[in-house]
Symmetry: C2
Subunit: 213 residues, 2 copies
């Protein structure tokens, strides 16, 4: 089971590592990170330099393609070479998936036309501009295309995917291994649940990327 995750500068780290932590534990799975070039990529939060060991042009096919989101997704949706590669690989995947604004890449590649799909709540309009029908669900599956909502939703998506690729007992064992028994101290993880004060504050937080490292 060959899982390929493209990384690019300013990728959102939990978009990537949430599903990675789940999918890599599937027996027989192999996760590969790829970039436009081999070498260092910078995460959106700025402190965790990562070294991408392979280029996406080396990948002709894979079982699962997973596109993460991030602050530079606008550059990725304008990168014709990358989008052509996404389309080409998608043609032979078992599942083509996205986390957060990664769905905008799938949209820009023309893979979501007429499909119901989801994304980070801040990306709803952009998603619709690609002909997708946005729904604020955590995970949306349409045939072999699975999109998920913002950042942390990739963990839920990956558990569902792991059950499809292996079996429910194995997916549940991975859930137990990563002790995914979430108990958030607050209940403001979606726009529908957050208070007006929280929605105001999140726009302030979102304006400026964090400065770390």
């Amino acid at each position: 089971m060959d899982i390929v995750i493209p990384l690019y500068d300013d990728y959102e780290p939990l978009d990537v590592v949430g599903p990675y932590e789940v999918l890599a534990y599937m027996p027989g799975a192999s996760v590969r990170f790829v970039g436009a070039e081999k070498g260092p990529v910078k995460d959106a939060l700025g402190a965790l330099p990562t070294y991408v060991p392979a280029t996406y042009s080396e990948v002709e096919r894979c079982d699962v393609l997973l596109i993460p989101g991030g602050r530079s997704v606008e550059a990725m949706v304008a990168d014709a070479d990358f989008l052509a590669w996404v389309r080409r690989v998608h043609a032979r995947t078992r599942f083509t998936t996205s986390v957060c604004t990664g769905s905008l890449v799938l949209g820009a590649a023309g893979l979501l036309k007429g499909l119901t799909a989801t994304t980070h709540w801040s990306g709803a309009e952009a998603l619709a501009s690609y002909g997708a029908v946005y729904t604020p669900q955590r995970t949306v599956r349409q045939g072999k295309v699975i999109t998920s909502a913002g950042v942390s939703s990739g963990i839920d998506m990956a558990l569902t995917l792991a059950a499809s690729l292996t079996d429910e007992v194995t997916a549940q064992a991975i859930q137990l291994w990563i002790e995914y028994d979430p108990q958030p101290p607050f209940d403001s993880g979606s726009l529908a649940k957050a208070s007006d004060a929280v929605r105001k504050r999140v726009f302030e937080l979102g304006k400026e990327p964090p400065h770390n490292g």
Copy 2:
């Protein structure tokens, strides 16, 4: 707000990136990753090479120390230099925290004697051997020491911590930004909830580290 996270070979990536994704969004926060040496470290799942930009010996103090777990925690609890550094930094932190088997490092450093604490369910006995009272809670705070359970629990812990370091509205805004409205497809994220079949399978999964990359 200076947050320091030591990385070492075979660290569990979600232990690290879950809290990083939360804490780095706090206004004024700066997250630093440190290692025994500058340079590449390997994650426990094998596919995401990371480059650590600073050594822990460069850090004399920080506001928050966060110790992640991983497959090599046994080496870390035997590393006298590292444990001495943990003790020295802990003396002046605002919060000393751990995710997963990172609590065994705090235990080995002598910081959990007589305290209630938690860890990954597989580490309960080892934790008790350091004089801590293990409890299978998601997050345990004792004074300025906060331990959390396995892997994904660091997200919950970090949201609680963010509320202490900033305010509840800010912590809730970070929760909304990372859309942390968890909807796991299964309910087997703790030993108490998992079926016998799942508990049997998890020991098979846990025996062998994943082969990726």
